[in-house]
């Protein structure tokens, strides 16, 4: 979804120290790209592959170049540039816009803004904001929890016990980010999970109704957002299912194009799923530290087999 320039200006004017140089009606435009452009080459007259759909940022170099041109040259060059459907132009470091730019921009209905912030810092802040605004998102049915600092996305059919598991984990000192509906945002290869609305941390317990987790368990029981490290799918126990037995190979799932490990957990009455979820989290941490229990065990077993085999061959 495009970002309306008016909305951008009204929301970020304070944070980005922005002021409007052209008339307010030039704000009637849309930003469709999360990238920004420094139109150096376009200013020299080279328009091939000119990224006109991006916000154009003019710093000292660009302003300096414009000032080096004769009045007529600058006028003609600007006319060539402003004919493109540019979302807006932003001048940095509090520099003044050359008169021709202000005049032509108003005439050709392209917004020119000014920021007091330096070019590099401004580019960084603007990119951060645009990346976040245009970040791909999706919603999923599941519960997001933070167990020992590991972000676990609990999924599974309705009624399998995700919410109850989450509550049990909260009692053990872990956190709930959101129950039942998760909004996932892809930012910089990281999958951020967060609640789908800003109502707070409510949960439905069948038979009881809605509860307010934060009010009930305290602020330490809830989180605002968490990166997804692992997906854990709860499944009803089935006799002929092929469950992971040793754990040397990992299964992966793709969310918004990012691969994450997934664990399929069989559940049935009597099984303490919460402790297994804690184990999943701790195992994940150990693996990041380089320790893989499955590998350690199978290596020891292979070593033992080699020893026994050598012994047997010596006897013969």
């Amino acid at each position: 979804m495009n970002l309306s320039l008016k909305e951008f200006y009204e929301t970020k004017a304070k944070d980005l120290s922005l002021s409007l140089v052209t008339n307010p009606d030039t704000l009637d435009s849309e930003i469709s790209s999360k990238y920004i452009s420094r139109p150096g080459l376009a200013l020299t007259g080279f328009f091939e592959r000119f990224s006109y759909k991006r916000i154009q940022v003019l710093g000292e170099t660009e302003i300096g170049y414009m000032q080096s041109l004769s009045d007529e040259m600058l006028y003609d060059r600007l006319k060539e540039i402003l004919i493109y459907d540019i979302p807006c132009i932003i001048i940095t470091k509090g520099l003044s816009a050359p008169n021709q730019l202000e005049f032509l921009a108003n005439d050709m209905e392209i917004a020119v803004l000014r920021t007091a912030i330096s070019t590099d810092r401004f580019s960084h802040l603007l990119r951060r904001y645009l990346d976040d605004y245009f970040a791909p998102t999706r919603t999923m049915h599941g519960t997001m929890i933070d167990v020992f600092g590991v972000g676990i996305l609990l999924t599974g059919k309705s009624g399998i016990g995700k919410s109850e598991c989450a509550l049990d984990l909260v009692e053990r000192g872990h956190k709930i980010v959101t129950d039942d509906a998760v909004k996932i945002k892809l930012n910089d290869d990281k999958l951020l999970a967060m609640p789908t609305n800003d109502f707070g941390h409510f949960m439905e317990i069948r038979g009881v109704g809605l509860i307010d987790v934060e009010k009930m368990f305290g602020i330490q029981a809830v989180g605002l957002e968490k990166q997804i490290d692992v997906q854990l799918e709860l499944m009803p126990w089935q006799d002929n299912m092929d469950y992971e037995r040793i754990g040397l190979s990992d299964n992966y799932v793709e969310i918004l194009g990012v691969k994450k490990p997934i664990i399929y957990l069989p559940v049935s009455p009597g099984k303490n799923v919460s402790v297994i979820i804690e184990v999943v989290a701790m195992n994940y941490i150990l693996k990041t530290f380089g320790y893989e229990a499955a590998k350690v065990y199978t290596d020891k077993l292979q070593q033992k087999l080699r020893e026994k085999s050598a012994l047997r061959n010596r006897k013969i």
Binding site: T139, S158, A181, F202, E204, L210
Partner: protein, 88 residues
């Protein structure tokens, strides 16, 4: 799988009471049930999910049923919406 787009025709939109009716209906059946509005795709058997849609009067949502009894579920759901959840 059956897909059907339906318009919210009761004045107060999909608040807690209609959401409960939808979820109670959906959980009666074995089929999967999804509601899609704009870019939100939620599980129709989850009360939090349905309420999260915040579907207002006049908005359109897509109903998706998938499974053994998808026809019966879809019929029941459409009837619920058409009857304005018995609110008017």
């Amino acid at each position: 799988m059956i897909r059907k787009t339906i318009k919210i025709s009761n004045k107060l939109g999909l608040h807690a009471r209609p959401a409960t009716l939808i979820v109670k209906t959906a959980t009666k059946y074995r089929s999967d049930c999804r509601l899609v509005k704009d870019d939100m795709d939620i599980n129709g058997k989850s009360i939090m999910g349905v309420m999260m849609l915040a579907a207002e009067y006049g908005s359109e949502i897509e109903l998706i049923t998938d499974g053994i009894d998808e026809d019966y579920l879809m019929t029941d759901l459409v009837e619920l919406f058409k009857s304005k959840f018995d609110e008017e």
